[in-house]
Symmetry: C2
């Protein structure tokens, strides 16, 4: 595998070839990956998770943030995670088009994590890749989760600052509550806030936060119009403020423990011989009383 | 721990004292639990999972099913899983009241699994308890998941037949799609089907199934009015037909593998010394470059 210093040199020059190759090697778990990861010396750059329902304008919002950061001389990495079916790549393709203005910029690295991943596999990949990005000179790291369902909540819960992007639409609040986004949100963005019902929607979010015992001094609600660049400065300030507060509160350590557990589970999963399990099951099921605990003990 | 034959004798007589005690012992992981579970000789009674949003009438529906089964001479066990916060017990208490007509019936055993459980803990408990129930003479086993969010989908995906209960209400279809219930449903029940918009709602479900490539010969949509006992016979027939088809298709084995993996993960999780992990983290974080992979290796 490539020396980290060589990858970092490439990143500093806007050449992401070695980085991209290394990411593929890590995703493919080539020999030596574990030792390579364990030898990294990451700088604790906070991970910014950006999530929300499809159509909320996440990519436009990220484009806006990236623009501000570039202007401030920062190097930015964006990982796009699509936990939904591999047969529905529309969202990712759309995002790529919306973010294309940055695809060739020397300060911006963009990569999609297409694989769905089993039982912690996706989270495990995210931890591996963000640790690599923290070790090769990036100043800002964004993980965007598109798609629907529980995976986005899982992934978001591994980010240091999770931004939930919503648009003023009836029913979205209820949706958000039920899908668990309320619990993972460190910041709410109400995008397309020039819509007529935006203020009512913002009031609803505040009301729901109150009902859930979420303090509005800790969790801010930021109105934006990403397509016009409105609210980007406010959002960046809110992200920075959250990360500062987070460090002071020590909640980073809780996050590290959560990540460590994900990694341990993923590691254990890789050790299971699934092929043998399937073969043994044929025999075990033929017995009159199949006992799953007796069966499972062979693979522990 | 108690001899399985003694528990089964109690169940046959409508005395669930030993069963209840054994469930508590298993939940508390008393010494010998693993060996006890591995020695069970379960009959492969299919697990019927019943899930859906709060207020859909799940408990009334289960009451109706239980009534039919009792009349047919069956012994029935119902596990109620509430994966939501332990501070919101309202749903469970409400269910208890609705199902109270069966609480003292000698053919019916009802138990709530109140614990939220961490990372597979809830599923692991469900597998343990349903295997015990399969070993002591029950003919029908129902797992009811109340509450919201992803946990109900996880639990439902471990049942042999998952029944998703909905009521004709605007927005519920979208909700169902997003929460992943569409993927786990083996049968849909449209309860309160005497509401005026019921047929439109049923059409929507069929349309969504078509869009998702779900065959309506495999996944039936059953209209019911549980409070009046309407549709119970249809539902029981559909459950039986699904379980027969399931056995023929061999999809039981896929389910067994999924359960085995859950058990292995839960077992590995119990071996992690979380206290030591927290202590070590204090020291590790003080270093200039905290590496989570290097840190995690100590606990693998």
């Amino acid at each position: 595998m490539f020396a980290v210093s060589d990858i970092a040199k490439g990143v500093a020059e806007g050449n992401f070839l070695l980085l991209a190759k290394t990411i593929s090697q890590i995703e493919n778990k080539v020999d030596g990956t574990d030792a390579y990861l364990a030898a990294l010396e990451p700088t604790p750059i906070p991970i910014i998770g950006i999530t929300g329902p499809p159509g909320a304008g996440k990519s436009t919002l990220i484009s806006g943030l990236v623009g501000e950061w570039i202007a401030a001389g920062k190097r930015v990495a964006v990982l796009s995670v699509d936990p939904s079916s591999p047969f529905h790549q529309g969202a990712i393709l759309g995002d790529r088009i919306r973010m294309k203005e940055w695809y060739l910029h020397p300060q911006v690295f963009i990569r999609s994590l297409a694989s769905r991943g089993h039982l912690g596999g996706l989270n495990s990949s995210m931890i591996e890749l963000t640790t690599l990005l923290q070790s090769v000179g990036f100043d800002r790291i964004v993980v965007e989760t598109v798609g629907v369902g529980q995976s986005e909540v899982e992934v978001a819960s591994l980010a240091d600052t999770t931004v939930v992007v919503l648009v003023p639409e009836a029913g979205d609040e209820v949706q958000m509550m039920k899908s668990g986004l309320m619990e993972v949100a460190d910041l709410f963005v109400v995008n397309k806030s020039d819509r007529p019902d935006a203020q009512t929607f913002i009031n609803h979010i505040h009301q729901m936060m109150m009902e859930n015992g979420v303090s509005d001094t800790l969790v801010k609600v930021i109105p934006t119009i990403a397509s016009q660049g409105v609210g980007m400065t406010d959002l960046i300030q809110a992200i920075d403020a959250h990360q500062l507060a987070n460090t002071e509160l020590g909640s980073n350590k809780k996050l590290i423990l959560a990540k460590a557990i994900q990694l341990i589970v993923a590691h254990k999963m890789r050790q299971i011989d699934f092929k043998k399990m399937e073969q043994d099951l044929e025999v075990a099921c033929a017995k009159p009383h199949f006992n799953i605990f007796e069966f499972t003990q062979r693979f522990i």
